[in-house]
């Protein structure tokens, strides 16, 4: 790089950072946007399950009866209560995260069979792991997120007329329009872009930047988490002591962890056999849990050592009553006495800050109106990234200099990353319906369809002329989206609000994609240059 001005160097940086990482970033943003509705997609992808609204108390009673009948000797029970976004009742025994989940009908208690599927969770996991073994993907996504921050700030630096051009969009003018579109979607949603990128990094902050942890705690995460609890209000341990043993804070820390199923009860049990005591109705604990978390704000119950005197009931809240991300938090009661053994301490200021930032990214708060805002903003972000990728090729096509080979490759990768990925995402939903429900390992097959379609799109992009490839792939995505409701109509699956919602959204997106495909010209030269009516009337050429 020769001597350059700030604008030139930042422009260079923005272009290369944006282009090379834009392909990955589009995938991260598209799957992240779809993951906003991951639970809804889960429901859509298991169409055999009923989704009528069921009272959590009734569900808990049904679950308790079933567990007492089928697994009376288990050391721990886990019950996933039906909630608004996850309306099924599930039970398992053993460690909370590991047990095989059985789905029950909340009213009759009979076991439900539903097709095994990767569900909407596929998009959620792909979003932060890129489907690579856990930490490799997390690091890649972190790298991409840093590139995004660099692209955003460099973009701001080089956008000289950022205020003047705030509302400027001149369509049908080739490169000018692409630049306007890219600028507008980037600047107008700047708060969202900055927030979502920075908070994404904050979620895994100790993985990405362990420096402070290394220097003050010698890298010991558990020690740091212990300090987090000690720093906030301490829960009285007297209730626990009344049971005859002291509660060690770390053991049942931040619930939902592996310790839950074992609990310290499991460690000392060999010494004195604990007497039996009938387990009170779990419905009571729902009431107690709701007293703390609010009506309808519970997501799960766990019972350790059911049927014994030292049985405990852990109540887990539904995320969403506040921005702060309280994943893994829980309220623990003694089953027999009903007293609170451990309540989640309110977070100290710095922990609250980190959790609020994480919560802003996870978007589990605020109900459906908020969720839709995030979804639409996410889609606009995808448009912003895609328009940047296309802008690069439009610009390079006009300029004679530069490597033609590289431009050619970039064009093809653009098509596969943007249009191809879109086709792959909706193809996953089609695979969910077309792959036979009884097939063992059908989840794997759904994943294979996703990656297979994506790979095919790259091949298609390499073989067809550029504009034709764009058009064909967008039409394919549009067709799959528009025809999605047919999959349900041709079957006798129960209809309900959530599934209809997924299908209506799919149709809407299909219309949008179809319109996009229709607007793509046959080739660069045949692009029309009609001035839009309003601009002609105003006669102003800025």
């Amino acid at each position: 790089m020769k001597q350059r001005s700030l604008t030139q160097s930042m422009s260079w940086l923005h272009t290369w950072c944006g282009l090379l990482l834009g392909w990955v970033l589009f995938a991260i943003f598209l799957t992240g946007t779809l993951a906003v509705f991951d639970r809804e997609l889960n429901v859509w992808m298991q169409p055999e399950l009923p989704t009528r609204a069921v009272n959590q108390t009734l569900a808990a009673e049904t679950a308790q009866r079933w567990l007492e009948r089928e697994h009376p000797q288990a050391t721990s029970w886990n019950i996933g209560l039906p909630t608004e976004r996850a309306p099924s009742l599930s039970v398992s025994t053993g460690e909370q995260r590991r047990g095989v989940r059985t789905l029950l009908d909340a009213q009759t208690g009979e076991v439900l069979e539903a097709r095994q599927t990767v569900g909407g969770n596929f998009f959620f996991r792909f979003h932060y792991t890129l489907h690579t073994p856990r930490n490799i993907g997390i690091w890649l996504v972190g790298f991409a997120a840093m590139a995004m921050l660099v692209a955003i700030i460099s973009g701001i630096i080089i956008h000289k007329k950022i205020f003047k051009d705030f509302f400027t969009f001149r369509p049908a003018k080739g490169q000018r329009s692409w630049l306007d579109g890219h600028n507008a979607s980037a600047v107008l949603l700047l708060p969202f872009h900055l927030m979502i990128t920075y908070t994404g990094l904050v979620i895994f902050f100790l993985i990405y930047m362990p420096a402070a942890l290394d220097v003050l705690y010698d890298g010991n995460r558990q020690a740091m988490q212990r300090d987090a609890r000690a720093g906030s209000v301490q829960q009285q341990a007297t209730a626990a002591q009344g049971e005859g043993r002291a509660v060690r804070g770390e053991n049942t820390q931040a619930g939902g962890q592996r310790g839950e199923g074992r609990g310290e009860g499991g460690q000392r049990r060999g010494e004195h056999p604990v007497e039996n005591a009938p387990l009170p109705p779990l419905a009571d604990f729902i009431a107690k849990g709701e007293a703390h978390y609010g009506a309808g704000m519970l997501s799960a119950l766990s019972v350790s050592n059911p049927g014994k005197a030292d049985a405990r009931v852990t109540v887990r809240p539904l995320l969403g009553s506040r921005i702060e991300l309280t994943k893994g938090e829980s309220l623990v009661f003694s089953a027999v006495t009903g007293k609170v053994l451990q309540a989640p301490p309110p977070s100290g200021a710095s922990q609250l800050t980190q959790r609020v930032m994480a919560g802003l990214h996870f978007a589990q708060f605020g109900g459906y109106p908020m969720r839709w805002l995030y979804f639409i903003c996410g889609l606009v972000s995808c448009v912003m990234i895609a328009s940047g990728l296309v802008l690069y090729t439009v610009k390079q096509r006009k300029q004679a200099k530069g490597s033609r080979t590289f431009l050619n490759i970039a064009e093809r990768i653009n098509i596969a990353s943007v249009a191809g990925l879109s086709v792959a995402c909706v193809a996953l939903l089609w695979a969910n319906r077309l792959i036979p429900a009884e097939l063992i390992g059908r989840g794997q097959w759904e994943t294979r369809v996703f990656f297979g379609v994506w790979a095919l799109s790259l091949l298609h992009a390499a073989l067809r002329p550029v504009f034709v490839a764009w058009r064909e792939q967008f039409y394919a995505a549009a067709a799959l989206c528009l025809a999605l409701p047919l999959l349900s109509l041709l079957n006798t699956f129960p209809m309900d609000g959530m599934r209809v919602g997924v299908e209506v959204t799919s149709v809407a997106l299909g219309l949008l994609l179809g319109w996009l495909a229709w607007k793509i010209p046959a080739s660069a030269r045949s692009a029309p240059a009609r001035k839009p009516r309003a601009a002609r009337l105003a006669g102003a050429e800025q």
């Binding site: 509302f167 605020g366 109106p369 908020m370």
Partner: protein
């Protein structure tokens, strides 16, 4: 309450953004120039800010304060985008949208 407050917040956000846009020389010429006197232009930006502030207030009917601010940022961004897309195609629609929004809120208020 949400059914009224949500479209109302969106309408106020859009109206605010529209007014701020009108306050800019370039867009005043594009949208209002022949009909409205130029003295009104500086007032537009202020009115726009007021409308945006009101939008935060109506958001707080749906969500508690912290969340209301988050939603508000999303709404003004999307409102800006809507305005940006309407401007080159139909200035009449761009100007008329808040009226349509207000009408929608009126219908919602009467119906519920």
């Amino acid at each position: 309450m949400t059914a009224i407050a949500f479209p109302l917040s969106l309408t106020l956000a859009y109206a605010g953004i529209l007014l701020i846009c009108l306050g800019m020389q370039r867009h005043w010429k594009q949208l209002a120039h022949p009909r409205l006197p130029a003295q009104l232009r500086p007032a537009c930006a202020l009115l726009g800010a007021a409308s945006l502030a009101l939008a935060v207030y109506t958001c707080s009917f749906i969500w508690h304060p912290g969340m209301a601010w988050v939603a508000w940022f999303g709404m003004i961004s999307l409102a800006g985008l809507a305005l940006l897309l309407l401007l080159p195609y139909s200035t009449r629609m761009a100007l008329g949208l808040p009226v349509a929004g207000a009408a929608l809120c009126g219908v919602a208020a009467v119906w519920l």
